[in-house]
Amino acid sequence: MDLSTPLCHDRGVNEATTPPAPIVRISELRHRYTSTEVLAGIDLELAAGVVFGYIGPNGAGKSTTVKILTGLLGGFRGQVEVCGHDVAVDPLAVKARIGYVPENAILYEQLTIREFLELVGRLHRLPDALQKERAHGILAGFELESRIDSRIQSLSKGMRQKVLITAALLHDPPLLFLDEPLSGLDVDAARLVKELIRALADRGRTIFYCSHNMDVVERVCDRIVIIQNGSIVADGTYEELSEAGKHGTLENVFALLTRGEDAARDVRVRVDQIVGSLA
């Protein structure tokens, strides 16, 4: 896989002379499920070549945002452009330019890794030879090449995660959506993926990284957005956020922003409640 090629097959991205157009542009994004407003007006612009951390408590609207950006969910209000294409108007153009690693993805257990990657490659209309070359290269990096003819049902959670990441990288997309990509990975593999994310960003790819793992977000992401109840409550680099919160770690900043000043005391109360119920 050639990561040194110019980034985008898309207009306006990563041009040297003028400031690059944002690879993701979200304006007044709103979405509701029946009576619940999940996204309450998100505004966001994302430059190419950054690792972008998108974090928030459960139910904050992270997955909904990702589903909208990847063209999986419609019926939203507002303007959403990905790689220069309006998601509502031309979702296929968007899908051609993104890679997606969902959290807890279901895979066709009866296919082998090779068959699964062939399927993904063909759905993206990659020439067979290129698909094979890339698949072998990426799998070799993940030390999975020897398992290429194993059925997915025989793989561990970490191996599946590597297969998913391989599938997302196969067509060399300029924008990658990673939802808890380190889930199930052992220490070595997690380190590899973190380095890979950095390397991809250095080569101009943009990473949209959703996670609950604050340590990783803190170390990997160039820019972090925290959302709660469908609204952005913080946006900046880790240094900016920790400075603003004056609480050191991102976990503390997150707790402060999502649970308020009494977060630590609140946790203690709840722990006491649980332990007390065991007595």
Partner: protein
């Protein structure tokens, strides 16, 4: 303690929005009344389902109470049995309601009533009580064995509670007894529905207490025997084979039994020299000890005042189910949970494919496939179907027997010519069985939508596919090339063997028809992406209406063939015609619009309007998909 402590508990598997999806379908103002009617219907359905659930829970509760002393004797824990059973039965019955709230368990019961009524009608002409009872119990035993074979694997190895139970201090026998009672309750309700019409028919013929008693007890014993025998088979296989292999062995046993049953019905009388069934039943004296339905027949004969000639048979009626039960308990008493846990967990080594071997199966088709399919997306659809149709257990179980049945019917047809000499008409009459390969095509198309991993369809959703029809076309080619055309060719070989080389043109016409008709069926039955819907056990094999329609298409094609064959040489024209039609149909599939394939392919910004439009034009096969799409995207007003 009873199970129905909190019948109002909503199942975690049910969506709070379920059933509220029909608003947009109705559209305009006049729909209020129909919405109200729908609400009433939904409420009735829910009440029926609740009643069924409560009945099952009560029945299970009574069984546990009755069996408590025996359970304690076996060192099984009755309260744990009750807890496992309560959770399982609630979950099972609520799952049966499904996402669309159509309680398919009630439909299963209705199907059982129909099947029982059919058997009762067929048996009504049999005047001899013992023969009637033997055949009735035989039919019930077969129904039960098939029902149990289908129910046991998913009830015994149930992911929902297996992990919890395996990690809790639960003895093997406690778990086993809970599962057996669950199976008996679930299967018992279906057997009851099948037995009821036969019971009524028998009561009309012999309105006596002995009949009622013998039939009821014999039905109970038949049911227990079927359940225990199936459990012995399953547990035995689990002991002998590694977990992953065990699933395959069970699958082949299920397929084999289906083929054996229908094959013996179709070919048995021919092979036995066309004796009638009654004579066969009466003459099989030597084998009686080994055929349980005879026990019931003997009991009925004695109950009606006949001489007690064979006490061994009478004793066997009780002994055999008892021994089967003890046998199942003995096999299950040690290591059951660990084996089931392993079967659930899977094993890596058994599922690996040796590098270099993967192309072996079906590789000879590749040059042909490359000629037909050039587009990568279409090839993806073909490969997806080809690979998963060989590996998906549910698909294989539901479709493979039909292939064997087509061949059996074909062979049965050819017997006429073997026995009665060469055809008097012409070769076209002999080529008719080639068309039999098409009979079950809709089953393949319907089942090809479902997969145990149907939720993996997200990978299609996230891919930039502008022509989803290509995927459907690939599936159609796969279905034709991997299944139906080969089966028609197998039958064709038999036809040529009987009729000689002069029937070859007729045979070719039949094969060409199969190719065209397969693609036609894919288009008409309601195309969808291959293996892209989560498999639900309650999805029926097919619907009878569709099979009837297929029969009409098949019959028409045969009629056309016979007429055309009267004109010398015209059969070649028919061959070309079917070839052209197959080509056109493939073109049609490739160019299907997204909404004809699957509503979720719409550009997302237009979802609302597009879905409503899709609902308006949806075909019967697509409706559930539309419902689910709406549920998936519940922002609809």
């Amino acid at each position: 303690m009873s199970f129905e402590e909190n019948p109002e508990d909503p199942s975690p598997l049910e969506s709070p929005t379920q059933g509220e999806d029909s608003g947009p379908r109705r559209g305009k103002r006049g729909s209020r009344r129909s919405l109200a009617k729908q609400a009433i219907r939904r409420e009735r359905r829910a009440r029926r389902a609740e009643l069924l659930e409560t009945t099952a829970l009560r029945a299970a509760s009574i069984i546990v109470v009755i069996l408590s002393p025996a359970l304690l004797l076996l060192r099984a824990d009755p309260s744990a049995v009750r807890a496992i059973l309560g959770a399982q039965l609630r979950s099972e019955f609520r799952r049966q309601r499904g996402v669309t709230e159509r309680n398919t368990f009630i439909m299963k019961l209705a199907g059982g009533l129909f099947l029982g009524a059919l058997a009762a009608a067929l048996l009504f002409v049999i005047p001899i009580p013992s023969v009637w009872m033997t055949l009735a119990q035989g039919a019930l035993l077969i129904f039960t064995v098939f029902g149990t074979l289908e129910a046991v694997p998913h009830l015994l190895i149930d992911r929902r509670d297996l992990a919890v139970i395996c990690s809790a201090p639960v003895r093997d026998l406690t778990f086993f007894v809970a599962r057996v009672i669950e199976i008996i309750v679930v299967v018992g309700l279906v057997i009851g529905s099948q037995a009821l019409p036969m019971f009524i028919a028998g009561l009309i013929k012999w309105p006596t207490l002995p009949f009622a008693l013998v039939f009821s007890i014999a039905t109970l014993l038949s049911g227990l025997l079927a359940v225990f025998a199936t459990l012995i088979l399953y547990l035995g296989v689990l002991r002998i084979f590694p977990p992953q292999r065990a699933r395959d062995v069970i699958l082949f046993a299920q397929v084999g039994l289906t083929v054996l049953l229908f094959g013996s019905i179709q070919l048995g009388p021919r092979l036995a020299g066309k004796q009638d069934i009654r004579a066969l039943v009466e003459s099989a004296t030597a084998a009686r000890d080994w055929i349980p339905p005879y026990y019931a027949g003997e009991w009925f004969r004695v109950a009606l005042g006949g001489e007690m000639a064979d006490t061994r048979l009478l004793a066997l009626a009780f002994l055999v189910p008892l021994l089967a039960g003890l046998g199942a308990l003995a096999i299950a008493s040690s290591g059951l949970l660990s084996r089931l846990g392993a079967a659930e967990g899977g094993g890596a080594s058994d599922t690996e494919v040796a590098p270099g071997n993967r192309q072996r199966r079906g590789a000879f088709l590749d040059p042909l496939v490359r000629r037909i399919i050039r587009d990568p997306v279409e090839r993806a659809g073909y490969d997806q179907f080809r690979l998963l149709s060989r590996r998906e257990r549910g698909f294989r179980l539901r479709t493979y027997p039909t292939l064997a049945l087509s061949v059996i019917f074909g062979v049965g047809y050819l017997f006429n010519f073997v026995e009665d000499g060469p055809p008097v008409f012409n070769g076209s009459l002999l080529a008719i069985p080639v068309y039999f390969a098409y009979l079950y095509a809709p089953i393949f198309v319907l089942q090809a939508r479902y997969s145990d991993d149907g939720d993996a369809r997200w990978m299609f959703d996230v891919a930039p596919i502008s022509e989803p029809g290509r995927l459907v076309a690939g599936m159609g080619v796969g279905l034709a090339l991997c299944f139906l055309v080969p089966v028609s060719l197998v039958i064709a070989i038999g036809v040529v063997a009987v009729g000689g080389v002069e029937v070859i043109p007729h045979v070719l016409v039949g094969v060409a028809f199969i190719a065209f008709a397969t693609l036609f069926t894919v288009e008409k039955v309601g195309p969808g992406l291959p293996f892209s819907e989560p498999f639900r056990p309650q999805v029926g094999m097919t619907n009878f209406g569709l099979l009837m329609l297929t029969g009409v298409v098949q019959g028409t094609a045969i009629g056309v063939h016979l007429v055309v064959a009267m004109v010398p040489g015209a059969v070649w024209g028919l061959l070309v015609l079917y070839g052209v039609l197959a080509r056109l149909m493939l073109f049609r599939l490739r160019n299907m619009r997204p909404r004809e394939v699957d509503v979720r392919w719409f550009p997302t910004g237009k979802n609302s309007a597009a879905m409503i439009a899709a609902i308006a034009t949806a075909r019967p096969g697509q409706v559930s998909s539309v419902d689910e799409a709406l549920l998936d995207d519940p922002e609809e007003p």
